[in-house]
Amino acid sequence: MNIKHNIESDRLTFWEKIYIPEIAKGLASTFKTMFQPKFTRSYPEEKMVPSPSFRGRPVLVQEEEGGRCVACGLCSRVCPALAIEVQPAETDKEKERFPKVFEINMLRCIFCGFCEEVCPEEAIVMSQDYELVFTSQEDAILPKEKLLVPIKNLQDRLEWLRQYR
């Protein structure tokens, strides 16, 4: 038999054993808690504002003359979820290559931030964007146009990366 006597139940006092004061105590704490501030947030009205350390949707940094990405393919190599596809193409501008195709499959992405960590050009960073809703699987594969975000919207994250990484 696996029942062993535990002395703890003997240590209860008489009042604890008859249980009625306990009910009163429980109700008292219920009433007290009713007037305390709520901990939850009513989400769609009240948005969470993430700190710069937050890892949201990965995006490409867009400067005046275009993206920074040189299509080295390192991010797509390191991605543990195999979410990134990069196809390079040659240009005659001062940056020698650029990504002809750059796609991130947001259904695969696990927001690990490894792509940002390895990119040698600071071209892909994690944004603060956490509201990701898609209506079809095709919508969830984000092409280059949807990934490019102007650099001024990403200043917080870039600043944080320079300081703490």
Partner: protein, 424 residues
Amino acid sequence: MNVTSKSQIEEINRIRNHKLYKELMSQDVSLYMNDALENDLILNMGPQHPATHGVLRVVLRLDGETIINAVPELGYLHRGYEKLAENATYHEFIPHTDRLDYISPMSNNVAIALAIENALGIEAPPRAQWIRTLVAEMARISSHLMAIGSTCLDLGAMTVFLWTFIEREKLYDLFQEICGARFTTSYSRIGGVANDIPDNVINGIRKWLDEFPALLKKAEALVDRNRIFIDRMAGVGYLSKERAIALGASGPTLRGSGVPRDLRKDNPYLVYEQIDFNIITLNDGDTLARYMVRVKEMYESAKILHQILDKLPQGEVKLNQPKKVLPNKSEIYTKMEELIHDFMLINYGAAPEKGETYTAIESPKGELGFFIVSDGTGQPWKLKIHSPSATNLQTLSEMARGSMIADMVVIIGSVDPIMGEADK
């Protein structure tokens, strides 16, 4: 064998069930008696039962309401992480460990980073070690909060669950400040941690820590002198000291049976040697003892956190060894040498010497170990995960025998199994 036809699947199911029932019937075969009232009842609990904490299936053999035998069946959440590891570099495997024990991802990250570092023969700089200890202890608190909360919820005490969840939520907010994600942290790296912790976050942790023990006490006071709670917990699911050791239990399950084993003291890793704390053991060996071990360990962890915050040194958080550890971002942008190392490390991985290493830490659930067999390349030849939940679940039949069927949820809750880790 390729499983293609339906009959093959049925055959596999038949063999599996046969094994289960054989184990269930190990003592006698009164199931086969003719009189219906004399028969034992076989009851499947799970894998979709809300009180089994995930997808655990337990097959119970009942005599009336008394459990004669219970056999846990694992594997419903098997995702093949050990095999996945063989096809990823060590670095790429780090995010996968978040999904092992998904209640305390931070300590899994620490465990895999320590295991890889051990295999590579490197050691992270002091500040990184202290930060890892810090996040591992925070993970312990968040895991134990979940454990005691859900134990109380299984018994119908919903308030405790909600209150511990508030504390856990605050911890997750801190995790988000530290590393950018609440749940899937992926914070430790080979040779250090992903990023330094800003000072304002350290202050945030301190502020939370000052309030935490009082709030925990408040939540605990709801049940700890409650007669119903104690009657349902005390004496239920007894596991003797000898059997706990023999079955390979670890963590609070082992310490609740009075065995003072804790890897933080027995085989100090990180900076636990420089920290003053006690191992909590209780001798009763029942569900109440395991519950109390967890509660008391949280106070102990809070004590550890205070010491860490006071002693946290300044300095680098990543080892400067470009052949094995990813260089800092500023160096990748400006220096050719570092850029090349970045490419080499990502493409081929950091390669440990040929050989085998085993590294274990005391995770909130018990001894979490990684056994790495390296063939000298950047990917492990074999990576075995010793998960505490899997070994602790082996004690389940021992605890369940002789209890009532209603006690089963309490017993499962007191083991605190996380199926993501048990099934890998």
